[in-house]
């Protein structure tokens, strides 16, 4: 069947493709990848609400929420997350009577949607040969993937701004202004800090960036982004945390004391902002893994393509541990998951360790301290790249 269908597709212009089994398989693969990523992000966000409670509890020597139970089953407090969801769904969904109804409805979608889209360009596993195809474990293989991440990151500003605007409340509007000012300021740092890795790896495609990190300096130091571009990482992490509006940068919400953009939101619509925040933790960990922590690569682990036919660990001192093709693939996907988990843990730990910035400090750190450092980093990286490529 295959040769014939190739023949027909070669003879006809692309837009006249007939619906073949092959196309359905392609479609199924794409839908499968999207479902895999979406389910993982949503589950991850749900579980992170539990992780946040438990981790903060352990940091401050408490037990944490553990009282919600279904027929006596408590699951170490995981049921509390379910109870939260139930509460949010059944709460009254109040729309300010004089607010902009449509915009009020759209704002949480603007806050939540781009988060999921960002994950589309992150490769979550090595290419797999299945069903006679070379499948990249990445939803969208874009040449300008890094720009895509930044572009959709900046759409989240609209979520906060529109939420404040549509609420017909001056406090919410001021909160929205505060949020958008903060997010725009830190977006610049986000973009500038990513220029370093882009220069160092010579590409903007996340897949190629990940592969570039499986090369080794002097044969034994893995060229992870965090090793090649440590300053870029130290700028990217706080900027990204400010972008996701989590403590120590959580003035936009300031749930407990100052009034933020989500003041007039209740029920599941507020829950969408909240869910977006937790999904952002997952996505941010994914972006950091791909750009700074070698993506799905484990140091010194190569597959059959990279080391012609000899998949396995190739240590710099000459040791070779052969591994099967699929073992390598599964180990790499698990490595990606593990890196994700560690980075999410790190973000939680940061959130529960550092006190909140004052707003003027926040702006000062962004514009007067991080920006010059980012620019210097770009200049030095550019010079080094020029010198190396001379």
């Amino acid at each position: 069947m295959a040769p014939q269908s190739q023949l027909t597709s070669a003879c006809k212009p692309p837009h006249l493709y007939r619906l073949t089994n092959r196309m359905f398989v392609d479609l199924g693969i794409i839908i499968g990848k999207i479902a895999f990523v979406l389910i993982n992000i949503l589950n991850g966000a749900g579980i992170l609400t539990w992780v946040e409670r438990k981790q903060s509890a352990l940091i401050s020597d408490r037990i944490g929420a553990n009282r919600a139970s279904i027929l006596g089953i408590k699951l170490l407090g995981l049921v509390n997350s379910l109870a939260d969801a139930m509460k949010l769904i059944f709460k009254e969904d109040f729309v300010p009577p004089k607010g902009l109804r449509v915009v009020h409805f759209l704002a949480p979608i603007f806050a939540l949607g781009p988060v999921f889209l960002t994950m589309a360009v992150i490769p979550f596993g090595p290419p797999v040969d299945l069903f006679g195809r070379h499948i990249k474990l990445q939803i969208l293989d874009l040449d300008i993937g890094v720009l895509f991440i930044l572009a959709f990151g900046s759409i989240a500003v609209y979520g906060a701004m529109l939420a404040g605007w549509a609420s017909n409340s001056k406090y919410a509007l001021l909160g929205g202004m505060r949020a958008s000012a903060q997010m725009i300021s830190y977006e610049i740092i986000l973009g500038l800090s990513l220029i370093g890795p882009i220069l160092a790896f010579g590409t903007m495609e996340p897949g190629a960036m990940v592969n570039a990190q499986n090369e080794y300096l002097w044969g034994w130091i893995p060229m992870w982004g965090v090793i090649v571009q440590p300053i870029a990482f130290l700028l990217f992490l706080p900027a990204a945390m400010a972008e996701t509006k989590r403590a120590p940068f959580d003035m936009p919400e300031g749930e407990s004391e100052i009034i933020g953009f989500a003041t007039e939101y209740s029920g599941m619509r507020w829950g969408m902002f909240f869910l977006g925040e937790f999904a952002e933790i997952v996505v941010l960990a994914g972006v950091m893994t791909a750009i700074f922590f070698g993506g799905y690569h484990i140091p010194f682990l190569f597959d059959a393509v990279e080391k012609t036919g000899q998949a396995g660990f190739h240590f710099p001192w000459g040791m070779y541990i052969p591994l099967g093709e699929w073992t390598v693939i599964i180990m790499r996907m698990l490595a990606f998951g593990a890196k994700l988990a560690i980075l999410m843990w790190l973000q939680m730990q940061i959130r529960w360790t550092f006190p909140r910035f004052r707003y003027d400090q926040l702006m000062r750190v962004s514009w007067k301290e991080m920006m010059p450092v980012a620019l210097v980093n770009i200049a030095i990286t550019g010079l080094v790249v020029l010198w190396l490529n001379k």
Binding site: Q55, L58, I59, S60, D61, R62, I63, Q349, T353, F354
Partner: protein, 199 residues
């Protein structure tokens, strides 16, 4: 006299001004707490004899031992013949700083005693558990119970103790049993004595 205290502005060193070293120190502190508690929890879960992870007690299920010197709810004592020891002398009512004891005296038929309490009511919500009533009593008729700590209720009336309730061996009668509900935890005086001896 007015004294002026000059507050010196703390100058951060260049090293501290880069933020990251100091942030790292903070992270080390919280991470130490996190991993210590985490390891103890996991250790307990897999059956190792690790230290108790946290000081928190899961109260209704898990109770801390009550100190033997704890004195809580009041109890009226009986004579060997089963009559109340109280002679309604009003000493406790007078001594009570909260005015939470209300005694109605009646004439006793027993020739040796003049009066007995027709009603002896105590409002626990007003009581500050100072123990002055116990000290004031010349007959050792009123005491405060040890070993019983959960004084809880759903209405104010439940905290209004009358004579017959206080005359019962109230260590055997929890507050909720008096209300007709069993809360499953029956502490006997024997248990309490054993507990007290352990300490």
């Amino acid at each position: 006299m007015i004294t002026v205290k000059q507050v010196r502005e703390i100058k951060l060193s260049m090293w501290q001004n880069t933020y990251y070293p100091e942030l790292w120190r903070g992270m080390v502190v919280t991470s130490r707490h996190f991993f210590q508690n985490f390891n103890r929890f996991v250790g307990r879960a897999i059956g190792l004899k690790t230290k108790r992870p946290l000081v928190t007690f899961q109260y209704p299920e898990e109770r801390r031992p009550i100190a033997p010197r704890w004195r809580g709810r009041h109890r009226l004592m009986l004579r060997p013949d089963g009559a109340p020891r109280c002679v309604a002398c009003m000493m406790c009512e007078t001594a009570c700083p909260d005015k939470c004891i209300y005694i109605t005296a009646g004439e006793s038929l027993d020739g040796r005693i003049e009066k007995y309490p027709v009603a002896f009511e105590l409002d626990l919500l007003r009581c500050c558990f100072c123990g002055l009533c116990v000290e004031a009593c010349p007959e050792d008729a009123i005491r405060m119970d040890s070993g019983y700590i959960d004084l809880g209720g759903h209405s104010r009336g439940e905290f209004y103790m009358d004579r017959d309730f206080m005359l019962k061996d109230s260590a055997l009668t929890t507050h909720s049993q008096y209300r007709g509900e069993l809360d499953g935890v029956v502490v006997t005086r024997v248990d309490l004595l054993a507990q007290a001896k352990q300490h």
